[in-house]
Symmetry: C2
Subunit: 316 residues, 2 copies
């Protein structure tokens, strides 16, 4: 494979928060391979599609998904309009501050919380609500805004791929209307390149003005086997590079690597209890078990956060 020194230097410089080592080398080698004109693994720019999970891959996800933190704050804000919640789970526990108790109801409880906080508003109203929350809410452990809990090495990676002709997409289990509020500003990924879970919407004329109303029904869950489906529905091309961190990303990584030519599959392994969190096979949030086995069996790139990342967050 053609691998010019000059290109290596240029690309390596663009990833200052990545320690030198096998992981960074795998990234640089892949990008050199697919962008070297005349090389055996060259990929034309329109086919340079890279997909990124969000929670745990581009920003943190502990102690609980940030969108769930939004939903819990929203429950508190809406409580005065819902006196019935005082006697109704999971709302009653939440309003008493017992998050663990509320979430003990599992998926049905989470579903109720999400529907109560993500529907019965227009898409424009919802955007304003998220915008106001993300501007002021703080992470419970670090006290930083959630938008500062993004991974500096991944921001560099996004920019570096785009500088090499890649189109970067987010493909996440999070709600698409939630992520789009800040994806452009914090990741440089415009709304039309964000794929996520969706609720149903209804077109209505309100006093002659057309609005889209969010209906309390799930339309699509962009997780696990849903991720390749979401990719095909929105992009219509198979990515050549995929980045994830949990079992929810396994099928996206399988789908990406099953195409011909050079492929990159990367898993962010959370191994740094000091600077971030350390978790994998037994974590209720971002469980990484089956996908870690497959990564090892297939030689996918696994980021050891503690060893591979010089910096975790931009402020570090």
């Amino acid at each position: 494979m053609l691998f010019p020194d000059r290109s290596t230097a240029r690309t390596a410089d663009a990833l200052p928060s990545w320690n030198d080592g096998a992981t960074k080398q795998a990234l640089v080698r892949f990008v050199a391979a697919v962008t070297t004109e005349g090389g055996p693994q060259f990929v034309a720019p329109p086919e340079r599609v890279a997909v990124f999970d969000n929670d745990g891959t581009l920003w943190a996800e502990q102690p609980l998904y940030f969108q769930l933190a939004f939903a819990l704050d929203r429950i508190k804000a809406l409580a005065p309009q819902h006196p019935e919640w005082n006697d109704k789970e999971p709302f009653a526990s939440l309003l008493k501050g017992d998050v663990q108790g509320a979430l003990a109801g599992g998926e049905p409880a989470i579903f109720q919380v999400v529907m109560a906080t993500h529907a019965e508003v227009t898409t424009e109203e919802f955007e304003k609500i998220v915008r106001a929350w993300i501007a002021t809410a703080k992470h419970p452990k670090t006290g930083r805004p959630y938008t500062k809990m993004v991974y500096q090495p991944m921001l560099e990676l996004l920019a570096w791929l785009r500088a090499h002709g890649f189109k970067t997409f987010i493909v996440s289990g999070g709600g698409v209307e939630f992520m789009r509020v800040f994806s452009d500003r914090i990741y440089g990924v415009p709304p039309e390149q964000v794929i996520g879970s969706t609720g149903r919407m209804k077109f209505e004329l309100r006093d002659g003005t057309p609005v889209l109303v969010k209906v309390p029904e799930i339309d699509f869950i962009d997780d696990k086997a849903g991720k390749p489906v979401g990719i095909q529905q929105h992009i219509g091309r198979r990515p050549i590079a995929a980045f994830g961190n949990s079992d929810g990303d396994l099928q996206m990584l399988q789908y990406t690597t099953a195409g011909p030519g050079a492929r990159l599959a990367l898993i962010v392994h959370h191994t740094d209890a000091e600077r971030e969190w350390a978790y994998d096979r037994h974590s209720p949030v971002g469980r990484l078990d089956e996908a870690l086995n497959e990564a090892r069996a297939k030689g996918w790139t696994v980021v050891d956060m503690k060893a591979d990342w010089k910096r975790i967050f931009p402020a570090d």
Copy 2:
């Protein structure tokens, strides 16, 4: 409004198949307004989203939707594997060449034809099938390939908008997996900017290889009130310009024009029985009735195909 001569000339030259007149002027005026930096109606490039219906707006749709012609050809190709179709409507009529009789069954009949021809294959197999068909099938009236039945003035418009920083999307009732096969080649619209109706898909591992299988169930109909929903789901921004030709585009035009600032809503009115077809309020294909009333009431731009277009098809 600032309206420099130089820009006018440049833009006017890029639309040679449009006759001079009020329609062309409306197009040029709108693009000048939203691209004039410092002007009161300037729109930043990322917000320059333009959405185009396909059937009847970018290519012809008579005597019946081209995708339906594909489905009918596909029924014939599949018939040997389905002896039961000889006694089952709408297939029996179709196989006898009685298209009108078969379609007399209305939407349920069309649904059966679409499901029998668009499902139970992987997305990759389907793409190959469409690619082979579109390369060889000929339009029954003109004898031309369907990909040559595109409107030359609209091709110029697409390219001209892109040259002015617009991102062009197709938002059509047609199947997304069908249109994406040729949208880039014939319109310069890449697959990730095509929004259409979708069938359900299922992720499967076949002998260890991941595939997406098209399941015979409708997922989403991108028509009428579905169009603004499709736009929000895929793009997440409100377009500033929308182009359609039928009542199926009405809600998309309403949604587009309801935003603030300069907006362009355009309807292609099929008025040329000689060079193309003339139809509107009573046509079963591409009916234009309510949207024509609203266009007149609201001052939307209506293309009079006969008067406004110097050429219809590229070969004219």
